[in-house]
Symmetry: C2
Subunit: 468 residues, 2 copies
Amino acid sequence: MPIKDLFQDELKVINIGLESFKKSLDHCHAPSVQVDWRPPVAADAGALQTVRDKADAIAKANAKAAAKVLSAKPVLIGLEKALDVIPGMKKNLLLHAGPPITWERMCGPMRGAVMGALIYEGLAQSPDEAIKLAASGDIGFSPCHEHSAVGPMAGVISASMPVFVLKNEEHGNLGYCTMNEGLGKVLRYGAYGPDVVKKLKWMETVLYPVLKKAVAKVGKVDLKNIIAQALHMGDEVHNRNRAATSLFYRALAPAVVRTAPDPETAATVLEFINGNDHFFLNLSMPASKVSLDAARDIPESSLLVAMARNGTDFGIQLSGTGDEWFTGPAPVPDALFFPGFTKADANPDIGDSAITETNGLGGFAIAASPAIVQFVGGSAADAVNFTRAMYEITEAENNVYQIPALNFRGSPTGIDAIKVLEKGIFPVIDTGVAHREPGIGQVGAGILSAPPEPFQKALIGLAKKLRG
Amino acid sequence: MPIKDLFQDELKVINIGLESFKKSLDHCHAPSVQVDWRPPVAADAGALQTVRDKADAIAKANAKAAAKVLSAKPVLIGLEKALDVIPGMKKNLLLHAGPPITWERMCGPMRGAVMGALIYEGLAQSPDEAIKLAASGDIGFSPCHEHSAVGPMAGVISASMPVFVLKNEEHGNLGYCTMNEGLGKVLRYGAYGPDVVKKLKWMETVLYPVLKKAVAKVGKVDLKNIIAQALHMGDEVHNRNRAATSLFYRALAPAVVRTAPDPETAATVLEFINGNDHFFLNLSMPASKVSLDAARDIPESSLLVAMARNGTDFGIQLSGTGDEWFTGPAPVPDALFFPGFTKADANPDIGDSAITETNGLGGFAIAASPAIVQFVGGSAADAVNFTRAMYEITEAENNVYQIPALNFRGSPTGIDAIKVLEKGIFPVIDTGVAHREPGIGQVGAGILSAPPEPFQKALIGLAKKLRG
């Protein structure tokens, strides 16, 4: 178009970069949109060229993957012992959070959780025995994610542990997660003392049979519905689960009362759940897991199906690259530390809980949960900005999970590894912080960005697949 | 200051009225604030002069009244039968919502509720008998508000009805409210059929003794804490009580299980509460009532201590004018009507529930609850604007009740009748809409503004008191 014609029609301007140009346009009442541009992150040039050449195929694959995630229907269908239901589970196998890792490379809190689990299983009688056994080679270690499971923080699952059994009713796949232990000294933060093991035994012998019968009585619990409601009630179902825990409790309590062996046991179980606003985390995580597992193995898709940390490495998996993990060092969160602790005490980021962000919840839905941002010193506007930024790197807006503060816009869902690198905007993750030594527990909570390296490697991995 | 000096310093501009002037100032980077000015409502000139002459004394009185409201500590301490605890309650007396009214002037839904209550009490055997008895003069009618009580919609309380007993722990005063009946055909919306009475009997014989024992077991329930949390969870505790109901349920369920006569009864009681997200309304209302009653009778104060409707008249009471009601016709709400109903079916506004707005909740805190505005066709931004406007007519910002979307700003609390008239901004009230005929029930829900007339009369009433 000749320049002279350009100004004869009404202008529609896309302003990239400096926002002050847009302000001038606003003043002239010229319609314009602002693109918050920043230089792309260093990415392998050959790989970038490959994904650009295949942009149409990738777009189609991503739309297909996102549709699978959005159509997922996660429901709780029961509780069972891990050994009885988790694919590949064995008595001498421990599942853990994040990408694969050996005992030698495990961080303090994950080692602590491994020790606690071995004592809980009766495979070791003391912390020293547990360390020897863990290092002996007689115990296998495998990521939860490779067994249709997820675990918060250290994420350790052993054979005797009861797990929630979830089904994605739309796609038929199953998922598993332990029950949340509550706060204080707990296995998932690397504590392994007698109290920790005693509580796990109580959960196995009292809590588990009661909840198992209660869920059997109600048949199933629609978790997608609870999560959708909870987003309207101040939760992002990662670091804040108060509403979701309340709604789950309301739904299940009458069945607990009817099926428990006696009223005192029922009351004790209800008190345990009432005392722990994070109880639902161990349901929002597997609900996200079964939603994303349905979107695995779609050739050419650059969407993330997992984002997880083992406290040493941060790993991601893409739909289009099968079971391959792309990893980099896990960052140490900038967090709000509990009194007496500092960043020097903090373990690098740990846990499978970033599966919630991968599913458009947690940090991606933090505009629904400004109290989390306020807790770490930010404002409600910061929370909205975090979520807004995540729309830049996601494929879709959720059809069921909505953000009230954004006028009920669907939460940003389906992280595209290519967009992450092209825009230099990294996934925002809400997280708890574990002490770097085993046996201590939680020292803080915060918000962090995923590191670049796993995405840079994933791009190369995807490009290889695309070249065939 | 000479004009030439004015422009030598940095300008700080207050722009009143047309907002476009402020936009020009923004463009020049001149700091300015916008005042959303509109012409004042017609008010008695003599009365206005009187309150302006006494502005300092009124300001002091209002600060004192607001401090009483903010320091209130409403807690649930038990449940009893109305006759046993409500001051002045009698077997042949019915309490009702809003300002005083005779049977002859009562609207349809209030008549329906009166008929239902007389049948429930066994004082009449049929609707026809009830009508005769109500008109006979043998039954007294008195506002709930004049008996330390409040009631939603028709708000009818009869002698045998169980009521929550609340205490303001800071100021020592007590308050009362029935238990919420749930949705569908219910007494408070003017239904009086056999099912309505049967449910009331179930509430008296099953629900009441169970909850009474459960509350006795836990000792007390801190309602201020639950309301504060609920505002962080999408409730404004007038038309949305889902979070507050959940939190109340969580707090009480273990005690219900321990004290109920058997597990099945406990489960039935829990299911009744779980099935009614409005259950907490009948606690947020008396919690507001005991908070405001503490601020009554402060000479010279123009703050509202009650705002209530009987379905015919809309009435307010000021702290500085004792027990006098200032009334005007109750408006018919512009509402979202349920399928099959229109505004022609709607009764004028009814209920004591506007006590929540008087306490800085409900419509005043609607920015915390955008789902309500969305329900009636508005946006989350509209919800924020409603709340923002209420700061213009209130004395204080709540120290405990916060609005997350306003970066946790305290909710606008303590309606000043003088500001309402001077600014022409009327209290925003969330409301349910009853059918204008008795026996039908709820036909919609909406948001409305309080009418001017009660405020105009209150100003005159206050001025009279001020003149002594």
